[in-house]
């Protein structure tokens, strides 16, 4: 009987942990920083795609933080490759939306896997300046004019299941990163394959030596 009771308690605790919630306004119209092309402050206006990635806890992984605001060619692709290994989860994809003056206004988005509910998380926004439906679609065949970037920052969320009238979620906290999301050139996938081969060859060469 005791064993059964303990099992029941453990299951309930797990369920509470799994189903915590947090919401955010995908909106940076009142932020100082925004979506830029090639350099900080060069705000983008036009069609773009946006992926919202989330990591519980408000500490931005060091590798991603180092790439925030980078204007290096391919910096966005390098940062994007870190998201899954760093534990981020893709929460939402906005395709062919419009950026005005480096700002987007997409309304509230609710995330069912924020823990603790209504807690701070790390958001990583991955943006690209084409109408492609996803980042991967964009990266698989980039045009010379394609630009893409990633920005990671601490984001407060709101527990939208709290009792009483629904609370308003916080807008995107881009300004906490202290820089813009800079979209830079996207290398052809072949360039990455070649770079990978080169790195592998270098490793083999060093081991033999």
């Amino acid at each position: 009987m005791k064993k059964l009771l303990l099992t029941g308690v453990a299951t309930i605790a797990l369920a509470v942990g799994v189903f915590a919630q947090g919401s955010v306004q995908i909106d940076n119209m009142s932020s100082t920083h925004g979506f830029a092309i090639n350099s900080v402050g060069n705000f983008y206006a036009g069609t773009m795609g946006l992926e919202v990635w989330m990591l519980n806890g408000g500490t931005v992984p060091a590798g991603l933080a180092a790439l925030n605001g980078s204007t290096d060619p391919g910096a966005g692709v390098t940062a994007y490759a870190m998201l899954t290994p760093d534990g981020f989860t893709l929460e939402k994809t906005y395709a062919a939306i419009t950026s005005v003056g480096g700002g987007v206004a997409q309304g509230e988005w609710r995330m069912a896997d924020v823990s603790p509910k209504g807690g701070n998380v790390t958001l990583a926004l991955a943006a690209w300046n084409t109408a492609d439906a996803t980042w991967n679609a964009m990266a698989s065949s980039p045009a010379p004019t394609t630009r893409a970037g990633v920005l990671a920052f601490m984001q407060p969320t709101t527990d939208y299941t709290a009792p009483g009238p629904p609370p308003v979620a916080a807008p995107l906290n881009l300004d906490s990163a202290g820089t813009d999301l800079v979209m830079t050139t996207v290398p052809e996938p072949g360039v990455f394959a070649l770079a990978g081969l080169g790195a592998a060859a270098l490793l083999i060469f060093r081991r033999r030596k």
Partner: protein, 186 residues
């Protein structure tokens, strides 16, 4: 919480943040409205990035309520009024912002009259419906801002909610609630 009690063109459906509030607010002010069809917020920011309202077509019709967020210190710590211009809706009016199945809704009066929600503004609440108001400067829904139509109290508890002109409020309604008014300018 605010509400727009005046109408642009007599249709009561074409009022937006652009037409109702225009350029009368400080930059980075945000209006949040509640969409009962999805039970979620929609918002528009008066933004320098957009050179105006980020979602200029965000509806703000008579009968809707909205949160208005103004940047800290934009009014230098003073209270300011925002003037809106329009016509007063008349005749039989039914507030379309109450969900048929009940639930939370952010609403306001369709007519520019202040007073008791039931005795003056004509909302016949069902027992156990709740109204939440938000006075200027509030930081939470305190006990004096929550009103329940209580069978135990035999009426509104702690008292009938008083709604000002241009004031929005939350209503936690029950299935089947309607708010009808018949108003004529005397």
């Amino acid at each position: 919480m605010i509400a727009n009690p005046l109408d642009l063109d007599g249709l009561a459906t074409n009022n937006t943040v652009s037409t109702a509030l225009g350029t009368n607010l400080p930059w980075n002010s945000v209006v949040y409205t509640w969409d009962i069809s999805v039970a979620g917020y929609t918002n528009s920011t008066y933004s320098t990035k957009a050179g105006g309202w980020s979602v200029p077509g965000l509806r703000l019709n008579p009968g809707q309520g909205a949160w208005l967020s103004i940047p800290a210190n934009a009014f230098l710590g003073t209270t300011q009024s925002v003037t809106t211009v329009g016509t007063v809706l008349q005749g039989p009016l039914a507030n379309p912002n109450i969900p048929a199945l009940g639930g939370y809704t952010l609403i306001g009066s369709q007519i520019p009259i202040a007073g008791g929600l039931t005795t003056t503004l004509g909302y016949r609440a069902q027992t156990n419906e709740v109204v939440y108001t938000w006075p200027l400067g509030a930081t939470s829904f305190g006990a004096n801002q929550v009103f329940t139509l209580s069978a135990k109290a035999g009426g509104w508890s702690p008292s009938e909610p008083q709604i000002g002109v241009g004031q929005g409020f939350w209503l936690k309604s029950l299935p089947g609630s309607v708010w009808t008014t018949n108003f004529t300018v005397q």
